[in-house]
């Protein structure tokens, strides 16, 4: 369907994506999401999901351990801050490379199996990394406290270039621009756009086509002369690097790293983002990440007081009932909503929101066609450029 896009359509998509993203602070203010912390999260988890989608969406290999790469990326970035420089670019390069190296190891082992075996292996290996972060690796991870910056850090490069942060705890800055607030978001956004562009190139490339072939029919693929394993490993490592980069960005916007980022729940979250938006579509995971982070933000902020207000229009007993039922799902109970959403999506809409959009679109198109009944006139809906893929 959308795979045979013209170069022009691709550029339009990229430009549209960039414009929406860069204008997000203004566009999202009316819905209460126009503040930098949340916008940064959109971008960071968008990158994470984009990368995950290259593995899961294209090859169909379901990894349950991608949060490990996110965590490793964070640690690598914070260490770069401590040892070398507060410049985010260096930290991101290190985070991406370390995330990649780590995923080579885990990918090499777990890709010897496929299907459920692969999922279990990635889950187990990620859980092992998580346990290690709390035990053997405490010199690197600082255990439960988490890895933090200190005034006494060496920062060799900063010292060499005469940067002095004085008596305050330094924050990362790009040649003098501090990476918090809106500058931090725009920094993330630029990287997000670059990642989106790269992901689009991969989707359109022969390499991307081979990855879809892995999902479609591995037997035919190997009898066609293609070696399946390096393709899956390459996809795994690329997605691991995306995750490392996302973890690095987390550290850039907030220079501390903790092992909880590596937990299986975090891995589950990126899976959910990807399938919610639509695995295998270019734009789906980005939408999924945005939707989940947005609702997480809204729902976690709710408490009984807010709910009572919300259901104020109802009679007292109904109000009470509604409040007590819905309070299960908000605030602390946000994870319950997440789990329920997970099930609902898998059961009713395995293709995710993108599939939902497409269904609605073709439904509308069919309805319109019935109304006009004029074959000569091109359908207006059909001419809308494909939003995804």
């Amino acid at each position: 369907m959308g795979r045979n896009t013209t170069p022009k359509q691709d550029w339009m998509l990229l430009i549209g994506f960039s414009v929406v993203l860069l204008a997000a602070p203004f566009l999202l203010t009316p819905v209460g999401a126009g503040y930098p912390d949340l916008l940064q999260k959109f971008a960071i988890f968008g990158i994470f999901a984009l990368g995950f989608n290259i593995l899961f969406g294209l090859t169909g290999y379901l990894s349950f351990g991608h949060a490990a790469f996110l965590g490793v990326g964070s640690y690598a970035a914070v260490w770069t801050f401590k040892l070398f420089s507060m410049n985010p670019i260096l930290a991101l390069i290190v985070a991406t490379v370390i995330g990649g190296l780590f995923s080579v190891i885990i990918g090499f082992v777990s890709l010897r199996r496929s299907g459920i075996y692969f999922s279990i292996l990635t889950l187990a290996l990620a859980q092992m990394s998580y346990n290690m972060a709390y035990s053997v690796a405490t010199p690197i991870t600082n255990g439960e406290t988490g890895l933090q910056l200190a005034q006494s850090d060496p920062r060799i490069l900063d010292v060499a270039f005469g940067r002095d942060y004085g008596a305050v705890l330094p924050s990362s800055d790009l040649f003098g621009i501090h990476m918090n607030g809106y500058p931090g978001f725009y920094f993330c956004a630029v990287i997000f756009i670059a990642c989106f562009f790269l992901s689009m190139r991969i989707f359109r490339s022969p390499f991307g086509m081979m990855l879809r072939a892995v999902k479609s029919n591995q037997n035919r693929m190997s009898y066609t002369g293609l070696n399946v394993r390096p393709y899956t490993l390459a996809a795994f490592v690329i997605s691991g690097m995306y995750a490392g980069l996302a973890g690095g960005l987390m550290a850039v916007t907030d220079p501390l790293a903790g092992a909880e980022r590596m937990q299986w729940t975090a891995s589950g979250e990126v899976v959910l983002m990807t399938i919610l938006g639509g695995a295998g579509t270019l734009l789906g995971p980005v939408i999924g990440a945005g939707v989940i982070k947005y609702f997480e933000n809204i729902f976690s902020a709710f408490n009984e007081g807010v709910l009572t207000q919300l259901f104020d229009f109802l009679p007292a007993f109904l109000q009470h009932a509604m409040v007590s039922v819905s309070s299960l799902f908000v605030g602390e109970g946000w994870h319950l909503t997440l789990g329920a959403l997970f099930m609902v999506i898998v059961i009713f809409l395995p293709g995710g929101l993108m599939e939902g959009f497409n269904r609605i679109r073709s439904l509308v198109a069919r309805l319109l066609r019935r109304d006009t009944e004029e074959p000569e006139k091109p359908d207006p809906i059909e001419r809308v450029p494909e939003p995804a893929e």
């Binding site: 490339s205 390499f207 086509m209 081979m210 479609s216 190997s222 009898y223 002369g225």
Partner: protein, 251 residues
Amino acid sequence: MSILSVENVNKNFGGLRALNNVNLEVEAGTVHAIIGPNGAGKSTLLNCFVGRLEPDTGTVLFDGQSLLGLKPHQINQTGVSRVFQTPEIFDDMTLLENVTIPALAKRDGSFRLNAWKAVRGETEIHEAAHECLADVGLAEKSQELARQLSRGDKRRLELAMCLVQDPKLLLLDEPTAGMSRADTNNTIDLMRRIADQGVTMVVIEHDMHVVFSLAEKISVLAQGTVIAEDVPERIKGDARVQEAYLGGAHL
């Protein structure tokens, strides 16, 4: 010149002797059929050709090179393509993509991280793929998804996927199994045309009609042994073949 030579191949499954000292020579540029009753060891032999099974003893030489122990993708890279009993295609991709993938595999080898250039920019590959689709008569359907094809068309697509690689040897495992008469005849015509282009083919087949309208040479396998190997006319009259294959009835 023989392109595939099988020498003294034996294969046992537990106590069952599936292949018993099989010798076979396939001449380049010919269509060679392997026939035999059920359980004669045809599929086992084919699996030995493509490295799925390793013979207990004996050698399989393709173009003077041993294929034993090679992985399927390595065997393909030496120039052997295979058509399966049930078409193995990329179901959820378009026909054009189905043929583009083998074309790329032929050009780029078993792995290449070609992740920057767009597929649509690979003009030569696309032309070759279109040409092959046209050859098998599927040109108009190039943008359809492969899973929507009829069984006969799926077989054509699979043939196109093999042909685009310009194989030195094409292995076909019951290419007309489960097809209607009309589809079978179309497929025979198609394979005839392919054969006329000089592609070497080894066909494993049940259907005598197919075998005798295609093959230039026939090997008859019975109980793991090659009992006859000759041109079709003489195979037809061979008493041993009739005995083994048809229990004495005349063809």
